[in-house]
């Protein structure tokens, strides 16, 4: 009962490919071999030429990739990790030559916390296997072990003879030093591979660019167990959740609401697991958290997200839930919890809104407060993802508009609200994950950015009267993205704010989209942007234009990304970026990753 049309289905699979890794998806393609679409690289370097012709059959290419990658990792990469030089040596083909910098090469990037040395593609002598390993060991020699190795190709071009290939990849080695500080070498490499006696081996290896980072500090340390930050699910629940994750089902789980619940000056945490439980962890000011009862919320009413703010200006915070319930005809309601004596009372009817008849399971992902109309009372924007009828037939992974309608509740005082999204010009039913308020057009009033999965991220520009018009043609809204998180800051103190959004980088997507001969160049270009991951939008005041700089700033590859944050963990006055990522990790870490 496939619901996809042929071309739509093919496109969907490319996009699913972006979101997945490996042959399972690529195997669904049945594309013919043909003339290559990629132009040969400009560099006609005889050391490691980019092939002019290569296999376009994605199934064949990816199957070969799996084997070749596995062979090289099993020998070369494993050898580096366990410091078994003989194992690494087995990965080289006769006549191998490499080009790799020495530890002292490159330029020092000035910094007071991290010793950073950036290395570009430079002319180094051709190295035989032993000399190449000497150079790599020159970086790792003073580490007590190699704790991290990464070898992840994002380009794989298989020669039509099936016995040689060209790959470009992300490479990382990282390890601790005796003084407790850490070091890591990150690089982009180009490799030439050949199949010899059934095993793929390295024929060429070239360092394109990279950096060695060595900390002058000891790292963050995890203190979860000591501070008592656990949901403490039952054993039965833990087993079922493990089964669910192992079957790769879960998308999101729930959110964090950090605030000062008891006004003691320490930050407390209200953590929620959707449809499961909420726990209030009160910071005891003495090294941990005490579990306290917040509002009593039954499992079926536990939302993805909650917001703790003072909605009626009485100096006491209310708790707004993201759980839509009480569906009745064309109405649905969202609870607000207010303090009553020592406990809480649930107000059922304060956030009430209209839905199409029969709609269920409207799924709220974010609740963002702002005083939109300047009346001194916080209004609430609820970013909604989907409902039960979403993502059904003809689902378009590229431009999906069958998600849920976002909600804008205007605060009318006395904890009464009126839903006015449509009345104020905010329309559309996309898959919204994050929302941000800022005067994006600098005209003195507040605008709204909406980060959506499976589609464009619209900007709602304030007309000056609290109604909004879609900022069509704005750089943020260009193209499609799988936006999960967004953050906004002047990260380098230039005087300009930038927008950073988390999407989904995919090594598999980067490999297979260029080979997908049967989708149009336009769609291919959109798919490629999607595969290239996170985006950074920067404003050039002189030109008055926004540009997307994620790749050139080195912040696009963050895998399947969710939360992203500008922050300053080292208090050095500029902002770094944290990105949380991953979709589902099987409890057996050796299980295949699709």
């Amino acid at each position: 009962m496939a619901r996809h049309g042929h071309s739509a289905g093919r496109l969907s699979l490319v996009l699913v490919g972006i979101a997945s890794v490996g042959i399972a998806i690529a195997g669904i393609f049945l594309l013919r071999a043909g003339k290559p679409e990629l132009k040969p690289g400009k560099t006609e370097d005889p050391f490691l030429p980019r092939p002019e012709e290569f296999v376009l059959d994605i199934t064949k290419s990816e199957e070969t990739f799996e084997k070749a990658n596995s062979d090289v990792k099993r020998a070369f990469v494993k050898g580096l990790r366990v410091r078994d030089r003989a194992a690494s040596m087995a990965a080289f083909a006769p006549g191998f030559l490499g080009r790799f910098p020495s530890r002292g090469d490159g330029v020092v990037v000035p910094d007071s916390d991290v010793v950073l040395r950036a290395m570009g593609r430079q002319e180094t002598p051709d190295l035989d296997p032993a000399k190449l390993l000497d150079r790599i060991e020159g970086f790792t020699g003073d580490w007590t072990s190699v704790e991290r190795t990464t070898w992840r190709p994002f380009e794989f071009l298989l020669h039509e003879n099936g016995t040689s290939a060209f790959a470009t990849l992300h490479f990382q080695l990282a390890g601790p030093r005796a003084d407790g500080t850490r070091a890591e070498l990150n690089a982009t490499l180009e490799t030439g591979l050949v199949l010899l006696e059934g095993t793929w081996r390295l024929k060429r290896l070239r360092f394109l660019e990279g950096y060695l980072a060595e900390a002058r500090f000891r790292p963050f340390r995890e203190v979860t167990d000591a501070v008592g930050l656990h949901f403490n699910e039952s054993e039965a629940d833990r087993k079922i959740q493990a089964d669910i994750i192992d079957s790769r089902e879960i998308v999101v789980t729930g959110g964090l609401t950090v605030g000062d619940w008891n006004r003691d000056g320490f930050w407390d945490v209200f953590a929620t697991k959707y449809f499961n439980q909420t726990v209030l962890f009160l910071n005891d000011g003495r090294g941990g958290f005490a579990r306290e009862s917040g509002p009593e919320i039954p499992p079926e009413m536990c939302a993805f997200t909650y917001l703790l703010v003072d909605l009626d200006n009485d100096g006491v915070d209310e708790l707004v839930s993201g759980a839509v319930f009480d569906y009745e005809g064309t109405r649905a309601r969202i609870p607000v919890y207010v303090r009553k004596g020592a406990g809480w009372e649930m107000l059922r009817d304060r956030l009430e809104f209209e839905i199409p008849v029969g709609m269920r399971d409207v799924n709220v992902q974010t609740i963002v407060p702002h005083d939109i109309d300047g009346d001194g009372q916080l209004d609430l924007f609820l970013g909604c993802y989907k409902h039960r009828g979403s993502s059904q037939s003809e689902f378009n992974h590229l431009m999906a508009f069958d998600g849920a309608d976002n909600l804008l509740f205007m605060n009318k005082g006395q904890l009464r609200f009126k839903e006015e999204s449509d009345a104020r010009g905010i329309h559309g039913t996309q898959y919204t994950y994050c929302v941000m308020f800022w005067d994006f057009d600098g005209d003195g009033d507040i605008d709204i950015y909406e980060g959506n999965d499976f589609g464009p991220d619209p900007l709602w520009l304030n007309r000056g009267d609290g109604t909004f018009a879609e900022g069509k043609g704005h750089k943020f809204a260009e193209g499609s993205s799988y936006t999960m998180g967004c953050t906004w800051a002047d990260w380098d103190n230039t005087g300009e704010f930038s927008l950073y959004i988390s999407n989904m980088y995919s090594h598999a997507g980067n490999r297979i989209v260029p080979l997908a001969a049967e989708i149009s160049p336009d769609l291919k270009s959109i798919a490629m942007v999607l595969a290239q991951g996170n985006q950074l939008f920067e404003f050039d005041r002189k030109k008055g234009t926004w540009s997307e700089t994620g790749i050139e700033r080195g912040v696009n590859w963050a895998d399947w990304a969710w939360a992203c944050l500008f922050w300053d963990p080292d208090n050095d006055g500029d902002k770094d970026i944290f990105v949380a990522n991953g979709y589902t990790s099987n409890t057996d870490s050796s299980a295949p990753d699709f």
């Binding site: 950073l116 790292p219 039952s234 790769r248 945490v269 407060p369 949380a580 589902t584």
Partner: protein, 526 residues
């Protein structure tokens, strides 16, 4: 015509029966911004100890311990995590704004902070990233600057105010319209309560008891409370009686054990435990045990109490006197034995999609036992029974679901399918019409309705239903397909072929339709 549609299922393209990871064990990122103008970031999560492999979702930077730097709290599929910032201390400013006009939280206020010749800016917000609320206080790292030269605030009303010469490393409270800033020290966790890193000590660690026998501190398979104390520690002496009473009250469900760290004078230690009324096993600490619980060197903050869950996983460490209420609350949170109904339903769904409806049934029944007022598990149970061919059970379960939620269009649709398959055609028509009432004019309700009419030989009504489906959703391959079947049954072969061609164009992977078209074309040619 064949029987009714199957209950609504999941997109088979995304359906996966096999188990494994999907972008699993991906390591979180920390894109590092070096000093000075930054042409690019350098991803170095390992350097910072933040390259966590959980399936991350939410994250909040927050100064949990009040020491002036941002710690990181994360929530992912594997649970919560807190990473304590141990980077070298640098100066900072923490700003808390209160608006006098508009909402007091001053959301959107634009703040510029100048210190050490550098001007930074930020804005007041309470949400950031993904599904996360963070404190509205603004945090500025000041590097080596030990004072704030100036703070400029553009309030949400547009009013701009400026404060000068403020101290660093303080909480600075700025009220709109007030020229004087309020400056205070951040409340901070006491140094000796700083949380410990995970260490290897568990209840299975062995030590010599007061009775001279060597053995594990506590039995496996139940929560454990391990209390480290000494005869010279006054707070130890204060808390021991309460722990003794609590241990007695909780009985064998929880293991309690004491570890005396100055067990040289065993008589004094025994005497103190007895005087406190403590009856649970007591051990004498040795070097290995101390290293396992307190790290190399093994110097303990006393009293220290370690609480473990039934799996032997550390659940909390108190490096201070603890109250019986704190321990009791913590243990109570571990006592549940029910899963969440939602998790049962998700798992049941997975099993049904993998063709294991029989395994899904008990999970759905369990979910109903826990939360009997919810319609969804009944509806899913109905689908499971349907898959198993138990049509009357399916009908009963879905009817129960509809009783709880009369406006659920898909429940009506599924009930229609169950009636259809049970040859209760009149009831099926009623339910498909109910689905239309609740869910609006949709092909997925109209096509099966048309098929029931066709089966009843009510041709005009059947054709009307298919035409309505096509009008509502011209790209519905199913509507064109079943309209084609009806034309065929009426001997209208040319129309049948036209409709089927359209259906196939919309859904080329429908092999059944392709087969029909082949036969039909052959017949028509003949």
């Amino acid at each position: 015509m064949t029987k009714g549609d199957k209950p609504k299922g999941k997109d088979p393209v995304l359906e996966r029966a096999f188990r494994g990871s999907w972008s699993g064990y991906e390591k979180d990122n920390l894109f590092y911004n070096p000093d000075g103008p930054c042409p690019r970031f350098y991803n170095a999560p390992y350097l910072f100890g933040l390259d966590m492999e959980d399936d991350g979702r939410s994250a909040v930077p927050v100064d949990i311990d009040g020491d002036g730097d941002l710690d990181l709290m994360c929530l992912g599929l594997q649970g919560l995590r807190l990473f304590e910032n141990r980077l070298p201390p640098r100066h900072f400013a923490r700003l808390r704004l209160t608006a006098s006009s508009g909402h007091r939280l001053a959301l959107g206020a634009h703040v510029k902070v100048t210190a050490g010749g550098v001007t930074q800016q930020d804005y007041v917000k309470v949400t950031d990233g993904f599904q996360s609320q963070l404190p509205a206080d603004l945090h500025f790292g000041l590097d080596a600057a030990d004072a704030v030269t100036a703070v400029e605030v553009r309030w949400p009303t547009g009013r701009v105010e400026r404060w000068e010469n403020l101290p660093a490393d303080r909480l600075i409270e700025l009220d709109e319209g007030e020229s004087a800033a309020r400056v205070s020290t951040l409340p901070k966790w006491p140094e000796d309560s700083r949380p410990k890193e995970a260490l290897p000590g568990t209840p299975a660690a062995t030590a010599t008891g007061f009775d001279g026998k060597r053995g594990p501190l506590a039995a496996p398979g139940r929560p454990a409370v391990l209390n480290f104390w000494s005869t010279t520690c006054a707070p130890c002496k204060r808390e021991l009686p309460a722990l003794g009473v609590l241990a007695g009250r909780l009985g064998p469900d929880v293991s309690f054990a004491g570890v005396c760290v100055d067990g040289v004078n065993l008589d004094a230690a025994r005497g103190m435990a007895e005087a406190a009324g403590v009856k649970y096993p007591q051990f004498v600490a040795d070097e290995a045990l101390m290293a396992a619980f307190f790290g190399p060197g093994g110097s303990a903050i006393l009293p220290s109490t370690f609480v473990f869950d039934a799996r032997g996983r550390l659940n909390r460490v108190f490096q201070r006197e603890v109250s019986d209420t704190e321990i009791r609350t913590l243990l109570a949170s571990m006592a549940g034995d029910e899963p969440s109904p939602a998790d049962l339903e998700v798992r049941a769904n997975q099993l049904m999609e993998s063709g294991k409806a029989a395994e899904a049934v008990p999970l759905l029944e369990w979910s109903i036992r826990i939360a009997p007022s919810r319609a969804v598990p009944y509806s899913k149970l109905g689908m499971a029974w349907f898959s198993l061919g138990e049509l009357q059970k399916s009908i009963a379960a879905i009817q129960q679901s509809i009783q709880l939620d009369p406006d659920d269009a898909y429940a009506h649709m599924n009930l229609g399918a169950a009636f259809h398959n049970a040859d209760q055609l009149g009831e099926a028509i009623v339910q498909y019409n109910e689905a239309l009432r609740c869910g609006g004019e949709k092909a997925e309700f109209l096509v099966p309705l048309g098929r029931v009419f066709a089966q009843k030989n009510e041709v005009a009504r059947a054709m009307e239903a298919f035409d309505r489906a096509i009008k509502a959703e011209p790209k519905s391959a199913a509507a064109w397909k079943w309209k084609s079947r009806l034309h065929k049954a009426l001997g209208q072969n040319a129309d049948a072929e036209k409709c089927l061609t359209m259906s196939l164009a919309l859904n080329p992977s429908d092999e059944e339709a392709r087969e029909w078209l082949k036969l039909m074309t052959g017949e028509n040619r003949r």
